[in-house]
């Protein structure tokens, strides 16, 4: 007896959604279930800074209308947290005690903002930017013309920072080793880039480190970051942008190899026969560098999702790890990055 295969996709970001569409194109009959922590159906995360240009209705950020999920036959499980994956019995356990059996699993759970160890206890006092909700909260809590203090300043953060500056806010950047993540920049390049940011109106604090965050309920601005020399920096919100940490806790019993992310072959196949991974959650084997590497950025992630889906359907394609990793400042001081190419 043959039955149509059930593909389960964990994550509804661009990798997950791209994969779902690819699966449907390749197999009109298969069953596709997409499990996501998000309460929204797929939207373009990289457009979140647009919130500060006035796009406050989440429907504006939708890539496809909700009805398209039904048309594509994608079963959506939103606000559903995966707590465990049983790689031997092939099912996904959700926090609400439901087991979803799969024939093939694609993990594109992405990552969550990384927070320097010494600041973890201040987590509750900071703003994130990982979801539409977080973006809207930020928009709500940041008064018009107010100041956002950024710790780190990875490429997602820089993108937001540029938008904030354009829309009349102030940004104070406290640099860390993760500034410009995931680009690796030399000291020279770094200085040039920081100079470009300062020229764009950003206040940049170099050679120091944030050691504490506090909030005051009365009097503005409300947030305060303490630096290691004891000085205090004031602003309205504090946001860590120190790169991503992969979300893999739920994969610990899945019978797959994990370092910081899920380890996959260039075909995006994990060490488990029926599990693939794509996007920020996986480290792909780089044969020249002899190491598992992360490949971040909108374009990469999307390519990975579609490629993994084709391989799940039986293809044997390889992810091209030789991709350009470039960040530049042009004559006008405008920063361009391969990370931002959509």
């Amino acid at each position: 007896m043959t039955t149509t295969p059930h593909y389960v996709i964990i994550g509804s970001g661009s990798a997950g959604f791209g994969a779902a569409k690819t699966l449907r194109t390749g197999d009109a009959d298969c069953r596709i279930t997409m499990v996501t922590m998000d309460s929204l159906p797929f939207y373009n995360r990289y457009n979140l800074p647009q919130v500060f240009h006035g796009r406050h209705d989440w429907r504006d950020l939708m890539d496809v209308p909700p009805a398209q999920y039904a048309e594509l036959g994608i079963e959506l499980r939103r606000r559903s947290r995966v707590v465990d994956v049983d790689g031997a019995q092939r099912f996904v356990s959700l926090a609400h005690q439901e087991h979803v059996a799969y024939d093939r699993l694609l993990v594109c759970a992405g990552g969550r903002g990384y927070l320097p160890e010494n600041l973890t206890e201040y987590f509750g006092l900071m703003h994130g930017f990982g979801s539409f909700e977080a973006a809207m909260r930020l928009h709500k809590d940041l008064p018009k013309g107010g100041t956002a203090i950024m710790i780190g300043g990875d490429m997602t953060g820089i993108d937001l920072a540029m938008t904030l500056l354009e829309t009349g806010y102030n940004v104070t950047l406290i640099t860390t080793s993760q500034t410009f993540w995931p680009h690796r920049v030399t000291t020279q390049e770094r200085d040039r880039l920081l100079a470009a940011l300062e020229a764009a109106g950003m206040k940049v604090l170099k050679d120091t480190r944030a050691v504490g965050v506090s909030r005051e309920n009365s009097g503005k601005p409300a947030a305060c970051v303490t630096l290691e020399d004891g000085t205090e920096v004031r602003g309205d919100v504090v946001m860590p942008f120190c790169g991503l940490a992969s979300s893999v806790e739920f994969m610990l019993r899945a019978d797959v190899d994990i370092e910081r992310g899920l380890l996959v072959t260039p075909e995006l196949h994990t060490s488990n026969e029926t599990i693939w991974a794509a996007g920020d959650v996986c480290q792909i084997w780089h044969d020249q560098e002899k190491a598992y590497k992360f490949f971040h950025g909108w374009k990469n992630v999307r390519v990975m999702g579609e490629l993994a889906a084709r391989n799940m359907l039986g293809a044997n394609e390889i992810f091209d790890v030789n991709i350009e990793d470039r960040i530049d400042v042009d004559a006008d001081g405008k920063i361009s990055s391969t990370f931002w190419i959509h």
């Binding site: 398209q68 499980r77 939103r78 609400h96 439901e98």
Partner: protein, 605 residues
């Protein structure tokens, strides 16, 4: 009717019997009323007290006048996924589904409601059970936690909820109030931390009133209030869904007022005791449903024959027999109007909304006493249990009229059943000197003595005396709404269904259909003249009602001999606006007749 910047949301709370679903809905609607909203609410629950039956409480909260529940809810709260899953589809696009995302027992694949939420709906998962356990050490307060979640999500004031919780559990231990308050607050905290994605707007409620504070009542509650304001003196009851709460409320309210309350052992003795007390001049009533009415039919006949005033509230449910004991239906019209042995016409009033329940109950004793006959207040489960905001009448509206002053000479000449011009005879009360008579079920003469030969004359008297009731002052025995003069379609209705009829009529008018609607409140005797006028004005007359036989249509057709179109529904659920509207469109000729499975009674008669 409803503008976009008004509040008009409908919340459906669905759970298993025992989850506290109905209690939760109750707090919600009372809190919403306290906030100044118009509220219409209706609960559906199974006959089992606990176990596994489905309960669903639907509450429409609006800043404008509304007449019925909406077909689509804006919010669905699931306390039990297996019951709530079929209702996920009832939530409109960009509406909200709230559920427990941290269950205890394993569920089958697809057994959790999150698997059934459409992409256009917004899921809000909370750890409902854990929040309850954390707040109160018990999972029992899940139903209150979800109220907190709702209040948190939609930024409603906690104050009103706290207040209602304290009132609702006032008779319980303080710890019950404390625990429920804690559970609410915990849910509120959880709800407030969620970033909202839906487009549901709740603005301040504002009910315009005559200066009195609008209150939230069910149809049954309104009946009780009407009774109390008209100084009910005796009540005999027997529990039966959906009339029970009338008895329970009166059990609380009457003793302090010096009233006599008794739960009898069955309906037969309830009506017997009611008539017995009324014979002495006490304002007496009972309440029941169709099955109880059937038991009482014989005794009501006695009341007609003996010309003893009494008030019987009948809240209909699905029938016959136990039928659909917790579902609504308008199928006891025939029994109420005609039930009993022999020609035994009585007065039957069928209010169309909660406010109507209040006013009819307030006037029922007066009417019964004036016309010296049983008055049946015919409502149904949908009206009994549905909540609406009501503006109370001015004080004194229902103060009983002075009892018939009987300035009669005592002695031989007193005729209890005297033939008079208006066919109403002087009624003496036990205790009055010299006016002793016998009330009897035997046919009798003017003195009340057994006499077969008087039957024709007495039958004329007992029927003719009721005709005046059609003109009873202050009582809208019928009322026309909508377009004046000649119209294409007229919708004639009665009882609880009239809310849906009005909603339909306004929608039809908005579509440009010339349309009006008329409600008939007095079913016996019928206000024939105004019904006839309505027929004259309408090219087509449609009668929607909740029974299979089209009992009201039959009543009207029988009385007028005019054709009507019937829309008869016996689903156990309230009438669907959409279905009436389709029929109105068809009758108006504006759209080709949609193929509609309206059943045998759907055809034009």
């Amino acid at each position: 009717m409803i503008k976009s910047n008004d509040t008009d949301i409908q919340i459906a709370i669905c759970g298993s019997a025992g989850d506290g679903t109905i209690a939760s809905g109750d707090i919600m609607k009372r809190a919403a009323a306290a906030m100044g909203f118009n509220v219409i609410a209706f609960d559906v629950y199974p006959p089992e007290i606990r176990g596994f039956g489905k309960c669903i409480s639907r509450i429409r909260i609006s800043s404008k006048q509304t007449y019925s529940l909406k077909q689509e809810s804006d919010v669905l709260v699931s306390l039990n996924d297996s019951h709530a899953i079929p209702h996920a589809a009832e939530v409109r696009d960009f509406g909200v589904v709230i559920y427990d995302d941290n269950l205890v027992a394993r569920v089958a694949e697809g057994g959790h409601i999150s698997a059934h939420i459409d992409a256009a709906q917004i899921p809000y998962g909370f750890s409902i059970r854990q929040i309850s356990e954390q707040a109160t050490n018990s999972s029992r307060s899940r139903n209150v936690v979800i109220l907190g979640c709702l209040a948190g999500l939609f930024d409603l004031s906690a104050e009103n909820f706290h207040d209602i919780i304290a009132k609702k559990f006032a008779t319980k231990a303080q710890s019950v109030i404390d625990d429920n308050t804690k559970a609410f607050d915990a849910g509120l905290k959880a709800g407030r931390t969620v970033f909202r994605l839906d487009d549901i707007k709740v603005r301040a409620g504002k009910i315009k009133s005559n200066g009195a504070e609008a209150v939230m009542m069910t149809g049954n509650g309104a009946v009780v209030r009407g009774f109390l304001e008209s100084e009910i003196e005796s009540y005999f009851g027997y529990p039966i869904t959906p009339a029970t709460s009338i008895m329970e409320r009166l059990a609380v309210e009457m003793p302090p007022r010096g009233g006599k309350f008794l739960q009898t052992e069955d309906e037969i003795s309830a009506i017997a005791a009611t008539i017995g007390a009324a014979y002495t001049g006490s304002r007496a009533a009972t309440a029941t449903s169709g099955p109880g009415l059937a038991l009482m039919a014989e005794m009501i006949g006695l009341g007609v024959m003996a010309e003893v005033p009494s008030v019987v509230v009948v809240s209909q449910r699905g029938g016959p027999s136990t039928g659909l004991p917790t579902k609504t239906e308008q199928s006891d019209l025939n029994l109420a109007v005609f039930g009993g042995s022999g020609d035994a016409q009585r007065i039957v009033l069928a209010p169309t909304n909660v406010e109507g329940c209040y006013r009819c109950a307030g006037m029922a004793f007066d009417i019964a006493e004036i016309y010296q006959t049983p008055v049946i207040l015919l409502i149904d489960l949908y009206l009994s249990n549905r909540y609406e905001t009501v503006v109370p009448a001015d004080a004194g509206t229902y103060t009983p009229k002075p009892r018939p002053q009987i300035n009669l000479e005592g002695g031989e000449n007193y005729k209890r059943f005297e033939m008079t011009k208006n066919h109403i005879s002087p009624r003496a009360l036990p205790g009055q000197p010299g006016l002793m008579y016998t009330a009897t079920g035997l046919e009798h003469n003017e003195q009340g003595r057994p006499n077969d030969d008087a039957h024709m004359d007495m039958s004329i008297k007992r029927h003719e005396k009721l005709k005046g009731a059609v003109h009873y002052p202050g009582l809208n025995v019928s009322k026309r709404f909508g377009d004046k003069g000649k119209v294409d379609v007229g919708i004639l209705g009665w009882g609880s269904t009239f809310g849906e009829i009005l909603e339909t009529m306004y929608q039809a008018q908005a579509e440009g259909i010339s349309c009006s609607a008329m409600k008939v409140v007095m079913l016996s005797p019928l206000p024939l003249q105004s019904i006839e006028d309505f027929f004259d004005d309408c090219r087509e007359v449609l009668i929607p009602e909740l029974n299979y036989e089209g009992q009201f249509a039959g009543l009207v057709c029988g009385a007028l001999g005019r054709p009507v179109t019937r829309l008869s529904r016996a689903t156990g659920s309230p009438m669907v606006v959409r279905e009436i509207l389709d029929e109105v469109r068809r009758l108006s000729g504006r759209e080709p007749a949609p193929v509609q499975a309206v059943g045998a009674m759907g055809a034009r008669s």
